[in-house]
Amino acid sequence: MVGLDTPVTPARARAVRSYRRGPRRGSSLVYHLVLVAICAAFALPFVIMLTTALKTPDQIFSTPPRLLPTAPTLENFDIAVESMPLGRYLVNTVFLVVANVTGTLLSCPLVAYSLTKIPWRGRNPLLFVVLSTMMLPPQVTMIPVYKLWNDLGAVGTFWPLVVPPFLGTAFFIFLLRQFFAGVPDELVEAARIDGASEFRIYAQIVLPLARPALATVAIFQFMWTWTDFMLPLLYLQDPDKYTLSIGLYAFFGQHGVDWGPLMAACLMFTLPAIAIFMVAQKYFVSGISVTGLK
């Protein structure tokens, strides 16, 4: 390795100068070509989703398949909207998203705060429990929780999907704990000496500082609820209560290979997620790099 005491030979100095001049001419074009090729592969499914949604059935089932529709039509969107209550599904999904994001934002920062900034006995064991539940496959608790809701007569209602976030989610508690740990203790101590109540310290000092972390948590909860499949599949039986995920699933179950309307519906389902991503890109990236969450 090169250390401070490495003699500077002329060859070395030349090499440093050539390195500092940056990438060689022409290599930048190669870089772009590689990146464009990769991006084309990742974008292909989006392109197919869009073009299929704009095709008539005989264009969809043409051999050999063609990439672009000869005469783009919005017919598939009409069929999709007519053959399933997409509006209803949308309302249900948005309702669950709002409820879950609210629940998460009420519960997780509170727990994370008490785990970080309030000294109390049993705090560390509790932290350990929270962390170890992150390791536990959700399948382990799925059955007893289902039985519990079944005993309460709540299977088929929104309750099993609404309540859990209000009770906290291990991943988010962990993420917020990491963030709160960075808030100086002196700040909290000073407020305590001034006679502020714990809740006031939490609400007026710590929470405002944690805004970026809260935004990250909110966006992840949004995405989880928006795209969730397994919980709605387990608990929602009445088509009136279907979310978009389950609605699409039911549509496929009934109509099978009706690819045009299916792709149109998929497209409408995906666009809001993409829009949120465009608006809040930096929170996605920071959230991922802090936790490696999906």
């Binding site: 390795m1 090169v2 090499a15 440093v16 390195y19 500092r20 940056g22 930048s28 870089y31 772009h32 990146l35 990769i38 990742f42 974008a43 292909l44 499914p45 989006f46 197919i48 969809i60 089932f61 050999p64 398949p65 990439l67 539940t133 390791m135 536990l136 496959p137 959700p138 399948q139 382990v140 608790t141 799925m142 059955i143 007893p144 289902y146 039985k147 859990p164 009770l167 995405m223 795209t227 499949f229 397994m230 387990l234 995920s245 699409l248 699933y249 179950g253 299916l262 998929c266 389902f269 995906t270 997620a273 993409i274 991503f277 465009m278 991922i288 790099s289 490696g292 969450l293 999906k294």
Partner: protein
């Protein structure tokens, strides 16, 4: 608290015969011993092992390669990054259906491309040998999260280390092997563990790929898509063998813990923690 109760209940159910309508009856270790003689359980284990052993390392490799491409010193990086990451936020139901269409043997675009390249065109969804590669393709499409994590790690590598290595005449591979790789091993370890945990639980993609009209929770052609979680779901919510399913869940937990411990044990040999 909402978790500890169910954990205890789940452990108890795993020693019982339980169908949710009648109270559980104690059967001791019967569920666990029955699993050893269950052919479909073995199929599910095999399918999950296939997806994990192939999918996790290939996924990490693909994530690393795409991250290195995104780390090229060129303009327009945010746009490339967004395109690569977008599939990761597509709802899994959408992603699976789009790929079912792309992989359609007759009318799908993937087989059309393979035809143009004069490559064989498998029946992805119908041929038991190709259904699992189809699942892997879907998960590789959503690799963006891994890419972003690797990209963040690559950006942390101090530029002066590369300069020093280049001055010493290290070629690109040597720079990667001796500068980049040691510094990203901690991230790789983390992603490997998360990847294994997620892969052992994979459910939705195989469930939706195997979905037939009005046939819920099918295992796909010759049960080639019957993953561990899918079989657990079938047992619990189709056959209502809840005790059996609870036993499966605990074995899954055991497998997860053992694999994680194994990875951590070997990590001392290949993970470098810097003095930073």
């Amino acid at each position: 608290m909402f978790t500890l109760g169910p954990i205890a209940a789940s452990a108890y159910y795993s020693f019982t015969d339980f169908n949710i309508f009648q109270p559980p009856t104690w059967v001791g270790l019967e569920n666990y011993t029955a699993l050893f003689g269950d052919d479909r359980f073995r199929t599910a284990l095999w399918n999950t092992a296939y997806l994990t052993v192939l999918g996790v390392p290939l996924g990490l490799l693909l994530g690393l390669l795409t991250a290195m491409a995104l780390n090229f010193p060129v303009r327009g990086q945010p746009i490339y990054r967004a395109v690569l990451y977008l599939p990761a936020i597509v709802p899994v139901v959408t992603a699976t259906y789009v790929w079912r269409w792309l992989l359609n043997a007759q009318y799908g675009m993937i087989n059309r491309l393979l035809e143009l390249l004069h490559l064989p065109q498998p029946d992805w969804i119908g041929d038991p040998a190709w259904t699992k590669p189809a699942v892997l393709l879907i998960s590789f499409w959503g690799i963006g999260t891994t890419t972003i994590i690797y990209l963040a790690a690559l950006k942390e590598v101090p530029a002066h280390l590369y300069e020093a290595a280049e001055v010493d005449g290290a070629n690109a591979w040597q720079r990667f092997r001796h500068v980049t790789w040691p510094l990203i091993t901690p991230v790789t370890l983390f992603q490997l563990i998360v990847g294994i945990i997620n892969s052992l639980q994979v459910f939705t993609q195989p469930y939706l790929l195997a979905q037939q009209r009005l046939n819920q929770a099918s295992g796909g052609p010759e049960n080639s898509l019957l993953t561990y979680s899918l079989y657990l779901f079938q047992n619990a919510f189709v056959h209502l063998k809840m005790g059996y399913a609870a036993a499966m869940a605990w074995i899954l937990f055991l497998i997860t813990v053992v694999l994680t411990a194994l990875v951590l044990a070997t990590s001392k040999r290949w993970v470098h923690y810097g003095s930073r």
